[in-house]
């Protein structure tokens, strides 16, 4: 196990490379999903607001 972690003396290069890849890829994934959920919530709120108080029926938002 120790020799695996030591990476033949190159631990200081191999592990940061893998660690950074993990951080960056998880970071992009989390940000993408969080943004998607936020937009979903906004659409839900706007749709709910629309049915709650319908106004200006001639230019209703049904087609948007």
């Amino acid at each position: 196990m120790d020799s695996f972690l030591a990476m033949g003396g190159y631990a200081g290069f191999v592990w940061p490379a893998y660690g950074l890849a993990l951080v960056v890829m998880i970071g992009v994934a989390v940000q993408s999903v969080a943004d998607y959920r936020a937009q979903q919530r906004l659409v839900r709120e706007l749709d709910a607001g629309k049915t709650a108080r319908p106004r200006a029926p001639a230019r209703s938002l049904g087609d948007a």
Partner: protein, 251 residues
Amino acid sequence: MAGMSELTASQRFQAFANPARFMALSDRLLPFCTGATALLLAAGLYLSLFASPPDYQQGETVRIMYIHVPSAWLAMFGYMVMAGASAVALVFRHPLADIGAKSAAPIGAAFTFLALVTGSLWGRPMWGTWWVWDARLTSMLILLFLYLGYMALWATIEEPVRAGRAAAVLALVGSINVPIIHYSVVWWNTLHQPASVFRIDGPAIATSMLMPLLIMALGFTLFFMTLLLVRMRAEILRRRVRVLRLARTEG
């Protein structure tokens, strides 16, 4: 007036017909894409860290290759997706193409960043330097700046149609950099080694290292496609929010 609002309604329907179909399709695809990405990345990590041999010259540092090379491929693949979608957006005005190009940029930029930093971490022990201003490294840095410039352009122009058009032109002009990156190791003297997988005479790399590399590359590609779908869905919803808000302030 009634006729006019009917026209905009049908125009809006046309604009949203394809995104609506995309939403339905991507919703069904996403679980499979996510599962396949997780499986491939897990297998790729196992192969590259445990089940592959150290290189006879480079020792254990060769393991950096399994993330560096796929990152660099995806950095260029992402730019080609972005530039291709931008061309379709400019010529056919298809809303999904615009959305696809915009959504590909941050993922491609992330992989470009990873390729640069993991390359630096590999270069230090193997070349004795973190960085050289040679053609391959410099053109890769320019790729990162192109991505960032493209994203900045989207962020600075408020109106999506105008932002999309300006950004698409930038993406197309910048696409000249992709063949420069690919051939940089052939055209100019460099510390960077030439291509060892995409060669006319076949891959010049041992199977025990080629397999982990290809599995990892496939995993990275699926990761890219999965996130592209998620980001495109988010972008479609963002535009819907914008239209709903505009309509509300008008009403």
